[in-house]
Amino acid sequence: MSKKFTGVGVSAGRVIGQVRRMPEPILAPADGAPLPQGVSPEEESQRLAEASKAVATGLKERAAVATGDAQAVLKATALMASDRTLLKSATKLVSSGTCAESAIWEAADAVATQLTALGGYMAERAGDVLDVRARIVAELRGVPAPGIPDSDQPFILAAVDLAPADTATLDPAKVLALVTSDGGPQSHTAIIARSLGLPAIVAAPETTELADGDYVFVDGIDGLVVTDPSEAEEHLAQTYANREVLPDFSGTGELSDGYRVPLLSNVGSGEDAQLAAAAGAEGVGLLRTEFCFLGKEKEPTHEEQVAAYGAVFAAFAGKKVVVRTLDAGADKPLPFLTDASEPNPALGVRGYRTDMTSPGVLERQLKAIAQATSEHEADVWVMAPMISTPAEAQDFAQMARAAGLATAGTMIEVPSAAVLAGQILQRCDFVSIGTNDLTQYTMAADRQLGTLAELNDPWQPAVLHMVAATTAGAQSADGKPVGVCGEAAADPALAVVLVGLGVTTLSMNKRALAPVSAVLRTVDFAKAKRLAKLALDAPSAELARSAVRAELSELDRFGL
């Protein structure tokens, strides 16, 4: 019998396919657990050697069919799985009476700790060692290897939620859609699905019932999973498969009446910036500077920072690049800046606030940004994250100007800043709305909590009222620019609403440029304003979304 599960559609698309479940994570064996009854250390060592060989062979086979970077990584991981030093130290533990699972666990732990201590690149490889360890233990236990399942046939991946490490190995050619029982619209699953253009549904608790081989229809537009799909659903999937191909982004964002809405890209590295420029982005609306800080034990040097920012500026000569100063804290902790013991990190010392506890880091970062600016042709703007008051905006603007940066602004993520946007803009040059955090703080709902997914939706009319308060504030401050750089800007229907609310630029993942541009070109400014009013007046996120979508018939044409 066909069953219907509802969740939150976070990435558009309708597909039918077979389910593969994400395997359960491998739990740690007991510390120093003894050899099983009646098994000799020799037999146990033999079992360990065979498991390590089997894992290495499996990885080598995958390396043989992979290409480029993936092949190099798989080859290196295969060597780790059969590493003589690792096996020797594990075998030693087995000889002293430890079972194979506990022995390899402990031996790999020692290696990972050593690599972590080396820092930088080697520290990142510690994760590979732990992955190999989990694979060997899975082999010893006779359970599926952890991570995204290997399959020759493309499949629909069902999971509780996906961690960043899982999504990094996700092959978009093998995965048709993502379905998670937990996670919200701003979870890693949602972000990766949108960036890969995969249909996805999150926060669908009943999907834990789905098993390997189930044949299901996934509707990322309406947030539905249907088992044993009927002809009607086959038809919907077929229509989606036959959708009109989106025209490439021309490099100019505008409405049908020629009203200009520059479309910029969110960028996290120099390489990313080149790809965004190639996709037609009119500039960078959000440069996340964390990329040159994360995973570091110490603050990067002036030279390292100048080179990292310069690589981004070089890709956008003559164009706008909005640099967000370091946004550490909450879900992005940094050992030299943030206090991991805070009971409530999302409401703690994060973003601009870290300047109170670690003065100097921000000033040095601004100096490095100014230096990189002087070496390149990009029009560089800087903004601070987590600003709550006009006084903070003023302090930051002064600091930026003292460093020699001409254009300084703030993020609008905290409701207090949205409400006082007018006063903030009297003290700085622009604002940019971070809808992910603005939603979390307006609705008082943790971004990562699946249970609160319905609250954590940028379509919530209260969040849209916060955007309207910000643009009204900008009007009172000589019409200074208001950008949006959150995930909301990447939703084509919501992008229309944001423009109607008076947002002047939209910044998004480069993949969203084409769909957002295509839909913006189907409406004029008067219609955008009318749809914005519809959304503001709706009593719920769901009704706001459906009222606006009903007026945008072009969404179907492009399967958005």
Binding site: A72, V73, K75, A76, L79, M80, D83, R84, T85, L86, V111, Q114, L115, L118, Y121, M122, R125, D128, V129
Partner: protein, 92 residues
């Protein structure tokens, strides 16, 4: 005992890819080869065919390491490995 010094040629040091190339080559040789940082005692030297030991060495670009091997073909084996270490594999 044959012994050779080599200076790491890879710009990013003896990390995963160069380490993998080196470990694979060392494993195929007829003799057992050890590797140590210059100045470290020979008894602390590690198995050169172990990618994890190589990475744990923390040898960066320009670091000098010492390779040691014994028995028939040791000299030729070490010569071959020195060439691999001194090549910049990231430039290929």
């Amino acid at each position: 005992m044959a012994e050779r010094k080599a200076i790491i040629g890879s710009r990013v040091g003896l990390h995963a890819r160069p380490a993998a190339i080196f470990a694979e080559a060392a494993a195929e040789l007829p003799v057992e080869v050890t590797i140590a940082l210059e100045g470290e005692p020979a008894e602390d030297a590690m198995d050169a065919s172990s990618i994890l030991s190589l990475m744990g060495l923390g040898a960066e670009h320009g670091t000098t390491v010492v390779l040691r091997a014994e028995g028939d073909g040791a000299e030729a084996a070490l010569d071959q490995l020195v060439t691999i270490l001194e090549t910049d594999h990231d430039a290929e």
